[in-house]
Symmetry: C2
Subunit: 398 residues, 2 copies
């Protein structure tokens, strides 16, 4: 494996929240390829204790935490004989997140990542953000905290990381539009009718990206792109009319930034999460990765289509949310998490996902008129309420 030398620099201390997921594993793959650049401080995981133990030993972590309090014994036993501290439960994860580091990779899936990531903002110099919910559910609170603490925030979503690279030398006032690309998922060409009968196995087969189950389903409904537009709004302080998306089935161009002089800057790569992850790890340098360079002549063409908001109505819901992200973001996200989980456990059909979310949003939106949650507790209460309602809607269907 080709390794790059870290010319006399101190290795960067790094914590990975969500180390056993796809992002966490890819992060460790890159650390393995650049061993002199990094020193793993802490790792957190959830249910997959064998994987977590394996990682902790291999990378000589100082501290390991599982979010599942019941797994403490498993973890403790797995690490027996190693000089590695460990803990279990929410407090243990927060302890890991609070360890002083150069970089924290925030890659916990779902709203469970919110509190740990808010802790990490205070403890790390650079926050590599792969947890969408920090922005979708709590964007204002989150961005304010990042600003107050002067933490460098590097987005790890390929689209936002691309935008970050395009905007590195640009003045915000020159941005006319930020366009995120979407592969369109596996069902891009299906009719409304056909969408009703797609199976879980089909939905889990993303045409370009290898990702976790939740985000793969979000890509199939296009909700993922909706969530990403909300993220982009916060990350780059943009107005709704500055945000756009385009279907690009090859997933080579990730993001396009249109500037006021007619110039467009774009970022591309093969669809491999190690590109944005390596950017966040190496920043302000770039790391060597094993990702093959893009060869456009070999590909022959890149294609683009307008998205269909009718067939993919998750996009319409997200678009509606964009105008009021602070109030509607947590509801959209929570209802989506429950609905996707129900689809993944064979409780509802693919098209029922958006129906559930729509019902929850309709029910809660009027009740929350003029309430723009800013405190974490308020956000978590709305999140909880949305989950409760989504579960109620599910019961009515069974």
């Amino acid at each position: 494996m080709p390794q790059e030398q870290n010319k006399g620099l101190q290795p960067k201390k790094i914590t990975i929240l969500g180390a056993t997921g796809t992002i966490g594993q890819n992060t460790l793959d890159l650390i393995e390829r650049n061993p002199s650049h990094f020193q793993v401080v802490a790792l957190t995981g959830n249910q997959n204790i064998p994987q977590l133990v394996y990682q902790a030993k291999k990378f000589k972590a100082q501290f390991v935490a599982t979010a599942d309090a019941d797994k403490y014994q498993d973890l403790k036993e797995g690490l027996a004989g190693c000089d590695i501290q460990c803990g279990a439960g929410k407090e243990a994860v927060l302890e890991a997140a609070s360890m002083q580091t150069d970089i924290c990779m925030a890659a916990i899936v779902g709203v469970a990542g919110l509190e740990p990531t808010l802790h990490a903002i205070k403890a790390c110099k650079t926050l590599a953000l792969a947890n969408k919910e920090c922005l979708v559910s709590a964007g204002k609170l989150f961005m304010q905290s990042v600003k107050e603490l002067n933490t460098v925030l590097i987005p790890v979503d390929s689209e936002h990381c691309g935008a970050y690279q395009c905007l590195a030398a640009e003045q915000p006032e020159n941005i006319q539009k930020l366009t995120l690309t979407a592969s369109g998922g596996p069902f891009r060409n299906l009719s409304e009718q056909e969408l009703q009968y797609v199976t879980k196995a089909q939905a889990l087969k993303h045409p370009n990206w290898e990702m976790g189950a939740k985000i793969t389903i979000d890509s199939a409904t296009l909700m993922n792109k909706g969530l990403e537009l909300i993220e982009a709004k916060y990350l780059f302080a943009l107005e709704v009319d500055q945000l756009d998306m385009v279907i690009h089935p090859q997933s080579i161009i990730h993001c396009l930034v249109s500037l006021k002089d007619g110039s467009v800057l774009a970022q591309m790569s093969e669809p491999d999460m190690r590109v944005p992850i390596s950017y966040s790890l190496g920043w302000p340098q770039r790391l060597q990765t094993p990702v093959a360079p893009v060869d456009l002549a070999d590909m022959g063409q890149l294609t683009f289509e307008k998205p269909d908001m009718e067939r993919f109505s998750c996009l319409a819901l997200a678009n509606h949310t964009l105008y009021n992200t602070q109030r509607l973001g947590p509801i959209l996200n929570a209802a989506n998490e429950i609905a996707v989980e129900a689809f993944l456990t064979d409780k509802i059909s693919f098209t029922a996902i958006v129906e559930i979310i729509e019902q929850v949003m309709e029910k809660m939106e009027s009740h929350l008129a003029n309430f723009n949650p800013m405190e974490l507790n308020d956000i978590l209460q709305i999140d909880e309420r949305a989950r409760y309602l989504a579960l109620e809607m599910l019961k009515l269907r069974v």
Copy 2:
């Protein structure tokens, strides 16, 4: 016409060398749209005195020069009654180039632009470079002068301006490859046989760009892309194996920069020279332009092909030159200028262009072994010799 306010800033003083050409006219179009941003100091032209007089009056230039010494009376009479100084001949052009300005737009076509542009480096803070020959014929001398005088150099070719934008926040050591795109010109799909019979009118019809006659023919032979690769080598201090090109018939993506982590930054725009010109005029800000934003969904696709070095053997000649630009650059450029001029005046066929250049290069290359011209005089002598030989070759054909 929508105009942008120049919030309380001093207008930038600007000189345009080659004001009556396509680049010069587009530069003045942008100045007209942003009148509070610029103050025209000097304009130079060649034969087209009515146009030069019109421009000088409209933009209240202080000094105007024609390169053609015989046109002094015409120019003088055209400017009668205006408070505008004027001159004619080489010295007058050098005088214009030597006036102290914030920006000099160097847009003289051909090697004639070399000496004035070298003068301008000393007199302006930012040099907007549209004259390819400064780099192709005298790249080392030119870049050294730019460096010594601390002049900001902004390339105006759309490809290089795109690269400049992509590289604005990048470390040079991260660049793996710079890929320039080429439309492939009007004859992209013709066979070797068919290329022999193309007419001047066909060659002058570029599929995407409106440009002057010389560069339009260079685009049809693909020599333009060869010259641009040589330019890129000097501008961005790259090795030959870091330079690449790809055929991209839509001319939307102008340049791609591949970085060592697998990420590619690209710059796009509608094919309109006002985008790179405005970038050079506005830098480090961006100006509003009337150029329509790129709409990829509307376009549907961008296509790419490998270039065919057999059919477009100008590319092969340029590629050979790349390995020894300092010695071969002036020869390639001079022979090409003569051959293109001969084609434009109906003296030779389209395919004879490359034959002439090839013959001149073969003849001169061995004689110049180990001589790497650095002084302007040496470069101009090689240039003159190559022109003489090219003219001799032409005679043999008539």
